[in-house]
């Protein structure tokens, strides 16, 4: 309901909200700002806000020294790849659970979720050994497999909650119209669920992009994505704030932009539909 709020109160709320919002956002803002400074300016005391020599040099250095693009490409392949593979497995499963619910559907859903609760460190050793024996350590394929399995429950759950909102009538109409199962899913369900599938895709790319346990533990150099790329800046020599900032900006920018578009779906995906 729209209701009248006194202007004074609104101004006060605005000031408070902006103040706190800027404070929360400040580390990101400062990182981006620092990435355009020289190393000396980056640690200047008092800090420099605008009166410094804006430069793109750090970005060039980071690319040359750490091969940003290779890591970036690894991140893209791993996050997009694992999400797509996950979707291909999840769409039929979510269809089955949303539209042909049986007595055990709920149990299956809960069980799938429970696999997500497994602390990764609990299976670190065997997975490391399995990967070593199969030659999957430090490969993008290996990480795609792991991240697909890690995010599969979330993908299925999200799709399930979206599919539940599609009226069964329409699928039945397709059946009456002579569509077999394949055509029903291909021509009716999937196009209708495009918004849901898109948000699921987006959220899972974000989660996979930021995943920092398996990506750090199962890669070395070849397949290392941006999470590992950044971790290599944890103990450098000399002045490196500006370069760290540039590298950080490059690591988070793509996903930050995607994330802003998927705020709404984020809630649903991360709470498994418990909060809408």
């Amino acid at each position: 309901m729209a209701r009248a709020v006194s202007t004074r109160r609104k101004v006060f709320t605005t000031a408070l909200a902006w103040g706190l919002g800027l404070a929360i956002f400040f580390p990101i803002f400062w990182t981006v700002l620092t990435s355009f400074k020289t190393e000396a300016e980056a640690i200047a005391d008092p800090p420099l806000w605008v009166n410094f020599h804006w430069t793109l040099e750090n970005y060039v250095t980071v690319q040359e020294r750490s091969d940003y693009f290779r890591h970036f490409w690894n991140s893209v392949v791993i996050s997009v790849g694992s999400t797509l593979v996950g979707l291909i497995i999840a769409v039929p499963a979510a269809w089955a659970m949303a539209f042909v619910p049986g007595k055990r559907t709920k149990d299956v859903l809960m069980w799938m979720l429970s696999t997500k609760m497994l602390p990764p460190v609990g299976v670190l050793v065997p997975l490391y050994l399995i990967f070593r024996n199969l030659g999957l350590l430090d490969t993008r394929t290996g990480l795609v497999i792991v991240l697909t399995l890690i995010n599969l429950p979330i993908i299925i759950w999200m799709l399930y909650t979206y599919f539940k909102e599609i009226p069964v009538d329409i699928l039945e109409a397709a059946r009456m119209d002579g569509a077999g199962l394949r055509n029903e899913i291909l021509y009716v369900l999937t196009p209708m669920a495009v918004p849901g599938i898109a948000s699921t895709l987006l959220l899972n790319i974000i989660l996979a992009w930021n995943e920092a346990f398996w990506t750090l533990n199962l890669t070395a150099a070849k397949a290392a994505p941006l999470t590992a790329f950044i971790a290599s800046y944890s103990s450098p020599e000399g002045l490196f704030y500006a370069k760290l900032s540039a590298a950080s900006t490059m690591a988070i920018a793509p996903i930050l932009i995607m994330g802003w578009f998927s705020q709404k779906q984020l809630v649903r995906g991360l709470t498994f539909g418990a909060v809408k």
């Binding site: 990101i28 089955a96 609760m117 460190v121 971790a231 944890s234």
Partner: protein, 290 residues
């Protein structure tokens, strides 16, 4: 809807997902369990032998385990307190009408999308560094002695960093829940003469209770496995001051190559996580029926 044809199809369609997850769960789990009873070090291959509960004995009586357990609990509880209280206040604030709601919302949500390694490094170097960090500059400007956050208060610093990452999550979920609150209920209470505080306590808080529970449970699951933040800031130190269970097991397994000991730790971590998981599953399961 449910005919024999569709049920048969459904079973077929769901089986790849079920089989994959089943394999993903059972195979490594069984291996962890098996290794935990072996004396098994990657540095001395071929020397594996069955030693019963010895690994558990060592792991559970290791002073590092207690330190790690305490740190894990402090880390989880600390972050939960900050994010739930902060998130509720933020949500209440952002639910008010003000200018530029969209932009503030975007700014508040942003930290959630920053990968853990980045946020840890940015905080460690650019803010908490005792020489060049912004906090050091600030302290000096105020005439105070710079404080070496990660050396003097490593766990509290990590709690701070992690809270910054998770505050947006709590805020976003609580805000969503708050917005789904029936406005007419609030208006009815207002008509009944209830002041803001009692409206908050009697209407908003019960409405938020479920969302808060969800936030607590989901964050707990993730917070129990905090890893990257510790790896790039303190490496668990000084000593074991900021080592949590996940990091301890990581050190044992991949730094000391003690597969047996690490696996025993893994089993312990799984048991602890399951205790939390059971509550979470109940919550979500209830919701599924509604």
């Amino acid at each position: 809807m449910a005919t024999k044809h569709s049920r048969a199809a459904a079973r077929l369609m769901i089986s790849p997902a079920v089989l994959l997850l089943l394999a993903w769960m059972i195979i490594p789990l069984a291996m962890t369990l098996y290794f935990s009873f072996l004396s098994y070090n990657l540095m001395s291959p071929g020397m594996e032998r069955w030693i019963g509960f010895t690994n558990y004995q060592y792991f559970l009586t290791d002073p590092a385990f207690f330190a790690a357990l305490t740190n894990t609990i402090l880390l989880v509880v600390g972050v939960l307190i900050v994010t739930v209280i902060g998130g509720t206040l933020f949500a209440l604030l952002l639910d008010q009408p003000f200018f530029g709601q969209g932009i503030v919302r975007i700014m508040v949500i942003a930290p959630f999308f920053v990968m853990p390694t980045v946020s840890a490094l940015v905080w460690k170097n650019m803010f908490m560094n005792p020489v060049n960090g912004l906090f050091a500059h600030l302290f000096k400007a105020l005439g105070l002695q710079p404080f070496d956050f990660l050396a003097q208060a490593p766990l509290a610093s990590i709690i701070g960093i992690v809270s910054w990452q998770w505050l947006p999550f709590a805020t976003l979920i609580l805000l969503t829940a708050l917005q789904s609150l029936d406005q007419e209920q609030l208006e009815a209470a207002e008509m009944d003469g209830a002041p803001w505080l009692s409206r908050f306590i009697h209407i908003m808080l019960p409405h938020l209770a479920r969302a808060i529970t969800v936030v607590i449970l989901i964050q707990t699951i993730f917070l129990l496995s905090i890893f990257a933040e510790i790896l790039v800031t303190t490496n668990g130190g000084p000593g074991t001051a900021s080592t949590n269970l996940t990091y301890l097991i990581y050190m044992q397994s991949l730094l000391q190559f003690d597969v047996g000991g690490g696996s025993a730790g893994g089993v312990v971590a799984i048991i602890l996580a399951n205790i939390v998981a059971i509550f979470l599953m109940r919550m979500i399961g209830k919701n599924l029926e509604a």
